[in-house]
């Protein structure tokens, strides 16, 4: 599936351009942050801590304004950052930096798993539709049209309404191994959201796979294989599937970015179930914009960096492999 020529194309494009390098560095950093969150985090992200006056610490290097009640009168005071909290604390005293790390876990997990579900659903659907063509194709494409008629966020909202949030707790290996004392013993994965982002994006994969299948179905070697008595299943699996992988890989990369945006939108709207999510954090911080600007701002930077880096890598793959893809791409938010 990845020939030498493709590989050398990839290498050449990578070497020639600065952007994929930036993308790779940033994404690797985010991946490492997500993976080693329990080790890197300075605090348990769930630990609330509070002060009698409800103050939140600002990020290092900044100060914030707060209020103190003296004799029943509110007085403005300046809050200094705490060296304990690199990026400050949020409205319930949780460490913003640690939550940023854990938020990366949620985003990347949902992004990859959700895209995985979409691939698993969409690719076979598209291959079958494109390979057999005719009425089967017509019928299946009408189903795809119905899916496309739902704006993905709207459909996702409806599905979350149906299924609830179904968070799944994934045990944390670092904590289990005793490497991260005091960190949460499991990471909550917003199950419905993961499922839903898969359910609303699979159709893009179906379209791409269908296009490939239609192109390959009439290739001579496929005709030859058929004349040699290979079954449809064999042909689909041995010839059509491998050939459709390149565009699927490119689309999947781009879709991870768009799924991350979709997840963050759902969390922002309060439908993800977990609070360890960038989108949720932004929503929580929205009410505190006047004094605590950083609560919303910092996780947003996380999302933008993650999505940009994935998009950069997606662009690189697309330019190197040059598949013919039309898809939702970019962002669904």
């Amino acid at each position: 599936m990845i020939s030498d020529r493709v590989a050398s194309n990839l290498k050449a494009e990578f070497r020639r351009n600065l952007l994929p390098k930036i993308g790779l560095v940033v994404l690797t950093a985010i991946l490492l942050m997500a993976l080693f969150a329990p080790v890197l985090a300075t605090h348990n992200p769930n630990t609330t801590g509070y002060f009698d006056d409800g103050t939140s610490y600002p990020p290092m290097g900044t100060t914030a304004e707060s209020y103190e009640v003296v004799d029943g009168e509110r007085q403005s005071i300046e809050v200094e950052p705490s060296s304990e909290h690199l990026l400050g604390t949020n409205n319930v005293g949780q460490d913003v930096f640690s939550r940023l790390l854990y938020g990366a876990r949620t985003s990347l997990l949902v992004g990859t798993l959700g895209t995985g579900i979409a691939v698993i659903m969409g690719v076979p659907f598209g291959l079958i539709s494109g390979y057999f063509g005719g009425r089967i194709d017509d019928a299946m494409m009408r189903v795809a049209d119905v899916m496309l008629a739902f704006p993905s966020l709207v459909l996702a909202l409806a599905l979350v309404g149906v299924f609830g949030s179904m968070t799944v707790s994934i045990p944390d290996p670092f904590v289990a191994a005793g490497l991260a004392e005091g960190m949460p013993s499991s990471t909550p994965l917003p199950g419905t959201v993961t499922l839903v982002v898969g359910l609303v994006t699979w159709v893009w994969f179906a379209r791409v796979a269908r296009g490939e299948a239609m192109a390959i179905r009439n290739e001579e070697y496929v005709t030859a294989a058929r004349s040699l008595g290979a079954s449809d299943a064999t042909i689909l699996f041995k010839h059509v599937l491998p050939n459709s992988l390149t565009p699927v890989i490119v689309l999947a990369t781009i879709q991870v970015a768009s799924v991350i945006l979709l997840e963050s939108s759902l969390s922002f709207l309060g439908f993800s179930g977990t609070t360890l999510s960038w989108g949720y954090e932004i929503q929580q911080g929205q009410e505190y914009l006047r004094q605590n600007w950083w609560i919303s701002t910092i996780p947003g930077v996380g999302i933008v960096l993650a999505v940009i880096s994935i998009n950069l890598l997606g662009d690189w793959l697309r330019d190197s492999l040059d598949p013919n893809i039309e898809g939702e791409g970019g962002g669904a938010a």
Partner: protein
């Protein structure tokens, strides 16, 4: 007595790609007489298209004309630019590379026009053929309505006018009269039902029809020089003959000058008065048709004649070389062995560029040869030491002289797809392109 209409001196056109500098055309001289058909022939990648495009200023980034002069003979133009650019004028000749781009552009369509290789990709697919020809007519109409000196300025058409034209027909660029003239032109090039055909889109035309339409479009500006870049390559053999006939007839009728670019010696033989053979950005042999076909010196020319697939029509109106006859009889090609040369500056070296493929390469070939006079007419010149001495085994280079290293370099430059490395603007562009082409 014939007069020159175009003189090219020392033209160098280079492409500055990420892989390095590509010398598509180097130090090239050319002289075209008014009313003649001059042919440039060569393999893909020899620089013949770039030469043609350089002449009519269609070289696009990353390509650039880096050196040379292009003298165009036009009294009116000379007069119009003499005041502002005296250094660019020599009698009735104007050095096009010394005048502002604006002036050069003003020559497009009316002084020079061009027929492209692939008619189907050379028409805008979303406008009717009639509209596109009418645009070319409009250029001519506006030009002839204005004196030479102000012509360059009238070529402007503001964005504001374009926007207005969507609501005000009077602001449209193309006038009704031009549309009518376009239909006449379609008729002239032999398109049946031109009125209906004018309203059709390019995809509704057959290839041959479309090439006729392209010729009509090129004629619209009533150009002094028509550049025909592989005008028949994309067409079926039978259609090729028709199109060549058409060009022939039109040339006879109008007396216009044609610069014909082709890789097909058959076409040359049938159309041209004089011919230049290009290799690696240079003209390696030039002269009258007889000079090149009968008295050719350069082994490359010989090789080319050997690779003629078919000389259709009354090709044998002049006796061709024995070797040229052979393939016709044998029905098989005898292509020149070896690869198209690398035009990358750093890989070119200072030798005869053909030496690595030349069956008669000698030690003398290791320095770059000048142009020698050849036998036959006085027009005959050839850039090969064989014009001065016979080939001797004694001085021959060993067969593996250029070894693997050199060859590998050439391969590397070659397109990864293995397709021809024709350094045409588009291709050079797309090499650098790389990051573009988002498709969502």
């Amino acid at each position: 007595m014939t007069t020159d209409i175009l003189r090219v001196d020392g033209l160098s056109t280079r492409f500055f790609t990420e892989q390095g500098q590509v010398n598509a055309v180097s130090d090239l001289d050319l002289r075209i007489e008014r009313g003649e058909v001059f042919g440039i022939v060569g393999e893909s990648g020899s620089g013949k298209s770039v030469t043609a495009r350089s002449v009519i200023d269609l070289i696009e980034s990353p390509g650039r004309i880096t050196d040379g002069e292009i003298w165009f003979n036009d009294d009116g133009l000379a007069e119009a630019v003499a005041d502002d650019h005296p250094e660019a004028v020599d009698g009735s000749f104007v050095n096009l590379l010394e005048v502002p781009e604006r002036v050069r552009r003003s020559l497009r369509g009316t002084s020079f026009s061009m027929i492209f290789q692939d008619p189907e990709s050379s028409f805008n697919p979303s406008l009717t053929v009639g509209e596109q020809i009418a645009e070319a007519v409009e250029v001519q109409r506006r030009a002839s309505a204005n004196p030479r000196s102000t012509r360059a300025k009238t070529r402007e058409y503001s964005l504001g006018s374009l926007v207005l034209s969507t609501v005000l027909p009077s602001r449209k660029y193309v006038s009704e009269a031009s549309r009518e003239r376009a239909i006449e032109l379609l008729e002239l090039v032999g398109i049946p039902d031109p009125v209906e055909r004018a309203d059709e889109y390019p995809h509704e035309y057959s290839g041959g029809m479309l090439q006729r339409a392209m010729i009509a479009q090129a004629l619209a500006g009533e150009p002094d020089v028509l550049v025909a870049d592989e005008p028949t390559t994309a067409l079926d053999v039978t259609i090729q003959a028709q199109v060549l006939d058409l060009l022939d007839d039109l040339q006879e009728e109008t007396g216009m000058t044609i610069l014909l670019i082709t890789h097909n010696l058959g076409v040359v033989a049938r159309m041209c008065d004089r011919v230049g053979v290009m290799y690696a950005g240079e003209i390696v042999e030039r002269g009258t048709l007889e000079d090149v076909f009968d008295d050719h010196v350069h082994p490359y020319t010989e090789g080319l004649l050997g690779s003629i697939p078919d000389l259709e029509g009354p090709t044998a109106r002049r006796a061709a070389d024995d070797r040229a006859e052979k393939p016709r009889g044998g029905g098989r090609l005898e292509p020149i062995p070896g690869n198209v040369p690398s035009l990358l500056d750093r890989e070119m070296g200072d030798r005869c560029y053909f030496a690595d493929r030349c069956p008669k390469a000698m030690e003398d070939c290791l320095s770059h040869p000048p142009e020698y006079d050849g036998a036959g007419s006085e027009e005959h010149e050839v850039r090969c030491v064989l014009a001065t001495r016979e080939y001797t085994e004694a001085r021959a280079l060993p067969t593996d002289y250029f070894g693997k290293a050199d060859r590998a370099a050439a391969d590397k430059h070659a397109d990864p797809d293995g397709t021809e490395t024709d350094v045409q603007p588009e291709r050079a562009e797309s090499t650098v392109e790389g990051t573009g082409g988002e498709r969502r």
